[in-house]
Every structure is written in structure tokens, then in C-alpha cells.
């Protein structure tokens, strides 16, 4: 599989602060859902900003779909990447929903006629067309994130980066947004990088990369990552609820062959266990 993003031996630090990344390398495969997990301050958001050229790299290279991230390619790279940020309020530029979706198109000097078509299509995509006249003050956090996603869909990128995009939403809003992104990803064959410390969000990914103090300490499928509850605890992350349950059962002498199960599979397994007795 092709690597759509290659992070090669990068080093970076913010002004007057110690080195955050020291020789970090990471690849993102085309079409995958990659979850980047780690504690606050572990550098995961900074990594996303470096990929999008929002922060400038000191050393090393980042290549996005064959283009080196530098001043020259920056606009082309931002055409390929759509980013959804944490605070719904702080990425709403337009005065109304439709003006906000149009913002990215205006920046690319898209023709007005075409712009109206794209805005309509994008808003219908995220079920927000009926809200097109609303001002952001009259929208919920989840609705604002939907608009942010519409703004990204309008630009038809290849990669979506969710930078803690669901962390300020309630559980239902969070699930809504994730389902929406999943749907859009499948329809448009996108690559998704989700930066999160919501373990359940990461559990739905194809692959998980664990970052701690600017170092990649593990990368694997979620099942393997979450089976290793000790490692998660060491870097201060909660293990998913099911992993905790499995560990607790183990302590009671109930042994499970598999290391990690999501809640559905765990329920099925417990049912089977009970009926066998």
C-alpha cells in the first residue's frame, strides 16, 4: 500500500523549549484510518500542524502525497488536507453556515456560480442544508463541527485530520461526528488521521500510533495496542473499558484467549461463558 504521508526523521521544538520531536519517523498509508494517541503535551497536535505546514519544521522532511512540505508547496498541500480542530467556535469564520463553507472556496478563488453548487452539495452531505442561514451562535457544538466538515468536503481533500475534533462534544455528538467522517471517508476513499485521547475513538481505527513525549512508542492494530494495558497506564492513558474488564476477570482467574475485545464481542463472549457453565 502506498504511503500518502511520510514523516522522515523530523526534529522540532517551539521557541525557548526543549526538543519535542527528536528524529521522529512515521508513515500513514493511503486509505487507512490512523489514530494518534498520547497524553496532553505529547506532541500529537504539533505533528498534525507540521504535516499541514502550520508550524515550520527545523529538521527532517515531511512528504504529503509526493509533495515536500515547504513554503512553495504549502497551498497545494493544504488542498490535499482538511483539518477539523478541537474548538468548534474557533474555526467558524463565516457569518452564517453557508458563508463559512464558502470560506475555503473563496480562498481558492472558485467561480461564484460553481461555489454555490459546491456549498449546497457539501451542506446536504452533512445534513446541514436546512441550517444554511443560521449564525454560529444559534448552533450546537456538534452542528458547528458538521459545518466544519462540510467546509472540508467542499474542497475535496484526500486526507482529513481530526485534531481532537470530538473532545468538546457530548458522547452522542461525538459518535455522530465520527460516523459522519466514516461515511465520508468510505464514499470518497479518504485517509483519516484522528488525533485523540478518547480511547474508544481510537479503538475504531485501522491502526494506532502511540506517542509519548514526542516519541513513537508503539504502532499496531487497536486490538494489540489495547491489550497492553500496562503500557497504556505507564504513559498515563486509560485503557478502554473492555480491556479493564478483561484484566479484572483475569485477576479472578477467568482467562480469555484473545487479548482485546470491543464491547459487542466481549458481551458475546461473556454470554457464551455463562451459558457454558
Amino acid at each position: 500500500m502506498k504511503d500518502i504521508i511520510q514523516v522522515k526523521n523530523i526534529s522540532f521544538n517551539y521557541a525557548d523549549q526543549p526538543l519535542l520531536f527528536d528524529n521522529l519517523s512515521l508513515n500513514v498509508h493511503e486509505g487507512e484510518w490512523l489514530a494518534l494517541i498520547g497524553q496532553n503535551g505529547s506532541g500529537k497536535s504539533t505533528l498534525a500542524r507540521l504535516i499541514d505546514g502550520l508550524n515550520v519544521l527545523k529538521q527532517g522532511q515531511i512528504i504529503v502525497d509526493g509533495l515536500l512540505v515547504n513554503d512553495e508547496n504549502i497551498l497545494d498541500i493544504r488542498n490535499k488536507i482538511g483539518m477539523v480542530f478541537q474548538n468548534p467556535e474557533d474555526q467558524f469564520v463565516g457569518a452564517t453556515v453557508e458563508d463559512d463553507v464558502a470560506f475555503g472556496l473563496e480562498n481558492r478563488q472558485v467561480d461564484r456560480e460553481q461555489m454555490h453548487h459546491i456549498v449546497e452539495r457539501s451542506l446536504k452531505n452533512v445534513n446541514m442544508w436546512d441550517f444554511r442561514d443560521r449564525i454560529p451562535a444559534n448552533l450546537s457544538g456538534g452542528q458547528k463541527q458538521r459545518v466544519a466538515i462540510a467546509g472540508i468536503v467542499a474542497l475535496s481533500p484526500q486526507i482529513i485530520i481530526l485534531d481532537e475534533a470530538t473532545s468538546m462534544l457530548d458522547p452522542r455528538g461525538r459518535q455522530d461526528i465520527l460516523n459522519l467522517v466514516r461515511e465520508i471517508k468510505a464514499k470518497n476513499h479518504l485517509t483519516v488521521i484522528s488525533i485523540t485521547h478518547d480511547i474508544d475513538e481510537a479503538a475504531g481505527a485501522d491502526r494506532v500510533v502511540v506517542i509519548n513525549h514526542g516519541k513513537k512508542i508503539d504502532e499496531d492494530v487497536p486490538d494489540k495496542i489495547f491489550a497492553n494495558t500496562e503500557q497504556l497506564e505507564q504513559i498515563g492513558l486509560d485503557a478502554p473499558y473492555t480491556s479493564q474488564l478483561i484484566a479484572a476477570l483475569k485477576g479472578k482467574g477467568v482467562n480469555l484467549n484473545q487479548q482485546y475485545l470491543d464491547s459487542e464481542r466481549l458481551i458475546a463472549w461473556i454470554k457464551q461463558l455463562v451459558s457454558n457453565k
Partner: protein, 264 residues
Amino acid sequence: MNNFLFGRYLPGNSWVHQMSPQSKLMLSFYFVIVIFFANNLASYAALAALIAIVILLSGVSILFFLKGIRPLIWLIIFTVALQILFSAGGTVLWKWGPFSVTNLSLINGGFIFIRFLLIIMISTVLTLTTTPLAIADGVQTVLKPLKKVKFPVDTLALMLSIALRFVPTLMDEMETILNAQRSRGVDFGSGSLKHRVQAAVPLLVPLFTGAINHAENLSTAMEARGFSDSEHRSKYRIYRWQLKDTVSWLVFLLVGGLVLYLRK
């Protein structure tokens, strides 16, 4: 304040609603200038008749206009009172120390009152029939000629529209901070002026911190969405000059001419 900026727009589809914002904006300025040329009953009557027609054409209930006057009522009374008590000339009707009321000062006071009323009416028509966003766009169109002298008109318009967009956000935050401080026993409403100013400090500091954070995050989000400079962008909204604008201008120019003819 929230109501002042946002609650005022009344959606509608009247003649005035359909006019382009740039022409409404310019017409309002023009009208205010014409008001200062009026100096007798006939010329004021002409202007009052025009504004009455405009209000009828806006399809907005007169009650909303009366509401527009309320916040300014003290300013009006004060100015009119000053005019009546201090202007000289004419037959003295009443005198007490430095104050005097003459027949001329009464007439002048009345005219000032009408002048205020007319200015409030025209600006209320503008804000009731035009969204803040449309007004920002109108400003951009009106200022367009300044581009020739390298004035950043588009940047200004974008700043204006973002500022308008964040007003309700900051209002909400102020409300939250206000309640948080109140719950800790801060009293904002009473005490000496000095005390009240001091009480505002713990309100302003977190409000400013929040605003600066918003600004920083917003600029990152704008960059991520491909924003590089505001002068090279296409426009999603456009407000075209229409026949209604031309007709309105002709009528307003005619009335302007009439005022010049009727004035003393």
C-alpha cells in the same frame, strides 16, 4: 447589546429589503446630509413625508421605530433642552438667571427634535432591513474606490465580518464570566463609580484572554483552510445594483432638490 446588533434585523421581502446594501448605506448618508440643509417647516415636512414613505415601503411596524428611539431619548431631551434654554434672539418669553426661553429658541428646539427623529428613523430602516453581514459587504463595495490608493478594503471587510461574527460568542463568554464572578460575591451593579470600575477588571481580563485565544486559533484554522491574503479571493455573496436602487435614488435626489428649493 446583543439585541442592538443582531436582534434588530427583521427578515422580509419588501422594497427596502430588496435594495442592495451599498445603495441603502449611501442613501442613509445622503439623507443625513440633506437633513442639515433643512431649516424651515416646509423643508422638514418634505423630509418627513419621504421617511414616512420609506417606512411604509419597508413593511416594518412603526412600533419597532419607536423602540429605536427609546435608548436615545435622554440624549434627545438634553440636546433639545440646551437648545431651548441657551439660544439667543427673538422675543424673550421667560428668563431666569442665565436661562432664557425665546420664541426662536422654541422653534429651533422643535427643529432639532425633528432632525434627531429623522436621523434615527433612517438609520433604523437601514438596520432593520439589512443584515450586519450585508452591511459589511455594503461597506466593502462603497469603499472599493480606495483600492486605487492601496487601501486594504477587502481585509477591512473581512475583519468587519469576523468581528460581527464573534460578537455573540464574546457576549456569551462575558455572561459566563459575569455569573462566575457573581457566584463568588462580586457585586457589579452598585457602589461608587470607582468601585464599579474596579469590579470590571476581573471581568475584562478573562474576556480579553479568551478573545486573544479565539483570535489565535481562528487564524490557524483560516490558514489551514487555504487563506493566504484577503485581496485575492472570490466572493460567495454579491449584491447587485437593481432598478429599485435607481428609482429610490432618483426619488431621494428629487426630495433633496426640493429641500434646497424650500429652505429659507
